[in-house]
Amino acid sequence: MKKLTNKLLNWLNAEDTSVFDNAMELKMQEPKEEKEETVEQRMRDRLHIKDEVYSESETKEVKVLRIIYRTLAIILCAFIAYNLLIAVSWLPRTGEFDKPVNNEVSARYIEKGLQETGAVNIVTGMILDYRAFDTFGESNVLNIATITVLILLRRNKKKLPNEIEEKENDRLLEPKNDVILQKAATFLVPAIFLFGIYVILNGHLSPGGGFSGGAIIGAGLILYVSAFGFEKTEKFFTEKTQKVISLSALLFYCLAKSYSFFTGANELESHIPLGKAGAILSSGLILPLNICVGLVVAVTMYTFYCMFRKGEF
């Protein structure tokens, strides 16, 4: 037995190749003999066939096939639309109160939302407290989208041999230092930032919240870049800034929500005061979470823009 395992191990390690090789009954394959001409002919045929089959010029059959495909696609869409319309026609009537959607779930959100979450805006209270796991997943969607965009578009520090270098100047077709844009941006950008911050901080009191406010700030940053160029923004926004902001915001989000989930599930006291409803500093974790979400969204939007424009920050 031991001998056999030793043999097997030897064979696996390719140290002694003769153990089982001779025992095999498979026949040694003879090298295929072929004249050079036939080989060349075969290669030529192969290329030729590919050219024939996949030629760029549209043959008649391709056109017919395309027409058939288009008609089939249109018929399919019409069929789906017809079925969906039938389904819609059987659904409960829009705008009426008496239907399955308005049940005890939404009733509790409306009736007790203010007391249980401390948020005046019931929607914010719902997405950041009652259904916070969804929202956490959603900020991770943003995170992972940023990462995929970084993978695709960030320039490598070391050039790969087969990488096509983009030689064009990015601002070639734009007027440089456009006076109208710059003057307008001088007024608009602070106003946009202020509005974005207002929307984020008042997320639990008025319409808006982290997502909309973050997107507004991101749009403001993009306007600033288009007016003044990347030289200005590189001073305060680098790769490190992006990493630090999104890491700290997401980490805080993750830890805060883990704490809240853990205490909630184990019936522990959460020790987070809800504050007086209607004040800025109220509603427990919702305000810091809104700030985190806003930061993540703003940084993500700006990162998308930078990556699309030049592949680095």
């Binding site: 077709l173 319409p207 808006g208 997107a215 507004i216 749009a219 823009y305 699309f308």
Partner: protein, 88 residues
């Protein structure tokens, strides 16, 4: 459903169809922007201002900007507005 909402919804369909039929990429993105904007107004009329703000900032704002930057990168916007051949 008020008349105003119905008109907006019909506009929405018109925008969506014209995106499909326009020959020019820049124009279709403009139409998509209009689509988003009308959508955000519809959401305002449906008493959901949260959605209206978000769609106006994200859909009509940032998404359209990203589309335009992409068009620039794929040379669909050229100097002198020679867009006709850009839509291959």
């Amino acid at each position: 459903m008020t008349l105003f909402q119905i008109i907006l919804l019909i506009f929405l369909v018109i925008c969506a169809v014209s995106v499909s039929f326009s020959k020019n990429l820049v124009r279709s993105i403009m139409e998509f922007m209009a689509f988003s904007l009308i959508m955000s107004i519809i959401w305002l009329t449906l008493e959901s201002p949260d959605l209206g703000i978000t769609e106006a900032a994200v859909g009509a704002g940032v998404t359209s900007i990203l589309f335009f930057v992409t068009l620039k990168k794929i040379h669909a916007i050229r100097e002198g507005n020679k867009n006709e051949e850009a839509d291959k």
